[in-house]
Symmetry: D2
């Protein structure tokens, strides 16, 4: 926990839930309903998500966290000898304790500058994997926003989608920060676009104001069957599922999901512009709610008295990259104070 005087730019899950989420939960808490996703609140949330994504035949399921979503989806869509291709920075490879390998699947890693995959980067992997002495590449994992804070443009995702379909690869998007991606000032990709271009993705709730919860959206009908079996088997089917349904209904009934993403992006822009004015550079250009400025190590040391954030890695002998994350709950006054303290 932060000490009393510290403000955190460390991540987007250190805050609680948005007040409207709690109000909705309190409103619909009473009364008996079926569990395990069969309750009317989940049904309503599914209806709203299908409408919002334009994927009227999508299968929609709710799970409690992103690692769970990733491992459920990939273990559902891959046969035992099939592998998933991902960027070297991919959350599934770096920060999920081998969760995908624990379901039996290899992640084939590609080094990238930006956290983004392209057909050009994937092609050599397909060339190399041609017989049964190697795994069979069958899925491509990307995240939007990426773990580097970048976002795929519409054209980039179109190219990737076309390539995957041509090469019989499932395309899966980890949307832990999809709220921040969709509302980024530099974004030109709608939720409907994304839903059409990929086979399966999830809409992250935890990092965008929910108490907990991610909505898995399986648009490719070939991948829909028996997903609930996988969910139950891996401990991902919540008994009191109404709490998923209530939250996602609240998020999507009038645009709250986007409002929260917009706020995170607004704060990020305030922060990045202030840093630029103050003369700081960025390891990669600001694009969403994760910023990667370069600070002198001495500045970092001083900042750490008042703020918590991740030190991403050294740049050179006297400077390092840090990660600053804003969220739906970040206060603009905290940003101004941070900038003032530089």
């Amino acid at each position: 926990m932060n000490s009393v005087n510290q403000y955190s730019f460390r991540d987007d899950y250190s805050e609680g839930a948005h007040p409207r989420i709690l109000e909705a939960i309190a409103r619909y808490n009473n009364g008996q309903v079926e569990g395990y996703g069969m309750d009317p609140y989940c049904q309503e949330a599914i209806r709203l998500i299908r409408q919002e994504t334009g994927a009227m035949k999508a299968a929609v399921h709710f799970v409690s966290g992103g690692t769970q979503a990733n491992l459920l989806i990939l273990s559902a869509i891959l046969r035992p000898y099939e592998a998933v291709i991902a960027a070297g920075s991919a959350h599934i490879s770096v920060h999920e304790t081998g969760s995908i390998e624990a379901t039996g699947h290899k992640i084939i890693l590609i080094d990238t500058e930006t956290g983004k995959l392209t057909p050009h980067l994937i092609a050599p992997i397909l060339d190399r994997h041609q017989d049964e002495h190697r795994v069979k590449p069958k899925a491509v994992f990307i995240s939007q926003t990426t773990e580097c804070g970048t976002i795929y443009t519409k054209t980039e995702l179109e190219n990737l989608s076309r390539y995957c379909r041509k090469n019989d690869l499932w395309l899966y998007v980890d949307g832990a920060r999809l709220g921040a991606a969709l509302t980024s000032p530099s974004n030109d990709l709608s939720l409907q676009d994304l839903a059409q271009m990929v086979d399966v993705f999830y809409i992250g709730g935890t990092k965008n104001g929910a108490l907990f919860g991610e909505a898995i959206v399986i648009t490719n009908e070939a991948l829909q069957s028996n997903f609930r079996y996988i969910m139950k088997q891996k401990g991902g089917l919540l008994a009191k599922s109404r709490f998923f349904g209530i939250q996602f209904t609240e998020m999507f009934r009038d645009g709250l999901y986007y409002e929260l993403g917009q706020h995170a992006n607004f704060c990020a822009r305030e922060l990045s512009e202030g840093l630029q004015v103050a003369g700081y550079t960025f390891d990669r250009p600001p694009a969403s709610n994760q910023l990667f400025p370069v600070f002198p190590d001495q500045v970092i040391e001083e900042l750490q008295n008042k703020y918590t954030f991740h030190i991403w890695g050294p740049c050179n002998k006297s400077e390092s990259v840090v990660r600053l994350v804003t969220s739906w709950a970040t206060s603009t006054s905290a940003i101004h104070a941070f900038l003032a303290s530089l």
Copy 2:
């Protein structure tokens, strides 16, 4: 969902959360805290649970559901070739979609009358499993209350515990309904007793008034190391863990957990006494919040117009066993109406 006019005795997770749980969540929702179990609310809940169980050195972890708790614990304590012994009625074998086998482990099943295991029932299994052509039995899974609604007495658990320790078997208790067990009128086993006798157990929140959540308590220090790695790898480490901490703190700070169990037991007793007065018998004697009365099939058909419940199985040509479950939220007027309608 039930139709408007139906009342459910089907299970203990079809209700929402207890109002005090929601109030506590609202009270402590604001502000930044660390995630993944490192927040001060989890720390406080851990302190209370250690105190309540008397296991001051126990490792305590929170997860979102019972299937998750079971698979995390068993995959953590078993080596690949080791197996768990369980009753044929065990939830891990019957109702969790092969979750334990999916982590690589065999469940060795024992047929029982009552859902309870004894040294006498386990001994022949140890006799038969002596070399590397068979799995190595290494853990014993029991549930309290059992899936048959029965509860282990203090003497029964003592015997089982002694046997397990003598034979180098881990003893694990699934406490999905531990609240109902501890407050059953026929119970003589305290939470402290249980904590001393077993190696690991979990205290069920979902079925006893929580929004979601189970508290895993690892009393055996030999089993504590690196459990968080397993949790993260299997998708069981929640980011906004404060919501676990807040709930379990509320449950254990002044005895709410027991109150809720007591209410479920009180309702069950009202119901079972009424049924006995009305001349109905039970497939197994009432002991906790799951009742298994025998009804004529014609009565069942009529009841189904107003009530939902599980039909457990046929007794004979014209009668069947049904399962009636009461919970922390069951209304006594519903019980009286049910009894009146017979």
Copy 3:
């Protein structure tokens, strides 16, 4: 190892390989050929096996042992949440150290008298497994001969096959002792019959005179794709595969496989008739090369001075069932000596 004076009726793999197998290996040992199943000897063996089974489009693969065959096949044909149904006596459940569970799949066990499954026994399992809280039964495992020494008649297998196809269940036959089954005096089922009725099976070499090796025959084309990936991944793809090809070619080019089975059955009949003449009864009627006579415990003790065999289990206070196994290498003089010593 047996002491010098002991003769073993313990199993059918304690002998070496048939001399013709070794001669063939020596004959074709020299020269360079491709490995991993692509050599001409494997191709010739595949041609012969297709011809012999009548399954001209079958995929045929060679692996080194029965446990490997079982786990490769079942992990290839089951999705993660699917389970295999088997008799309680099934080798995969009792004697393979949880190998199937280690690939993630539950075995649903059925108690049987004879080691044989029937539609009548399977039906209740399908009735009970209807939703995602339980595994999905998807394959049926049988062995021919069974672990009880019994064999399925043509009618029995037809019924089972029809039932499985109607209920969308794969039917798989473990043929570790298929040689003994096909040549049993009480057999009325041809290899061609079997190949038509089931989806996949293996022809056991190890227990019928081979140095090592089993031939997996996948008759159902829907199950054939990418099997070599599974083989390689699980360590079942042998580099110098010619030694599989040479052995199975020798076995099937002129009927050696059947001759060896016939000898085992001939010896078993000599032994069983002698036992009957001597007044002994059998736990189950003799049908193949595994006999299960009942002996007084005192007789057993004396026999153990000169012979090794498995004691299957106690019958009553003074008698036990033993298992006596004959093989392609059993000497008739050993049988006569055994009978004389009773």
Copy 4:
């Protein structure tokens, strides 16, 4: 298979078994012995291997192939959340179809020039893997010779061994080509040295003249318990184990194993010297029985009429690296013919 006129330098498993191996098998084929590794031939081979390695308390087990050895060992010594560190060129990552991931474990890859790991290369990985959001590095996989044909010197392995012990990492050596390594002209590491420096390794038979078979040697007593359970569970425990015992006894009773490696190295040196004389360079300096010369693409095309070999990859627009492998069975006349044809 090669066409009639082609000679293969593609690998070291395209030949059959050395004649002495087949003679020994024929000699000891008859008679009854126990199976599953309990036969006297295995016991004698174990005695010889312990003596030869100087590891008198080592546990020694025999399996049929290298992929099987690798997956058995790594799944035996790693807990579910633990990972193995390996070079990017490691066979377990590149050519075993995700076998290690299929047992649930991540391979952490390190790019190398030479296929060899050093403490310097490993250290940053340990630095980065510090909490439960990442796998726990616990084993280091190396191969001797490496997949690049290089060999670890005594000093290099000493450094690596010291580092691993200091950092609580198991050190495991894949010895598929250990015969070629130990008898390489540039080798200064004895089998005894190696056995002392590592925790577990295997002595490859398949690529050094055996019919099939690898000898796993577990020198670290902490890793020895219950290994046979893992072997049986994964299909790696051969019934007629005498054939392992006979082969490894023959290999080590009078030095045959080394003779065969020497021949492979002798042929490789003939070949590499001839290539150097002819003016060809090498992608990496020749060190064992795998050579990586650089040929003009036009030369490669012509060579392919008479020879088979792997094209390792392009060097530049007109040249490529090829891999030429010699073995215990390579004929010097084939080498001279090859050199003459350049």
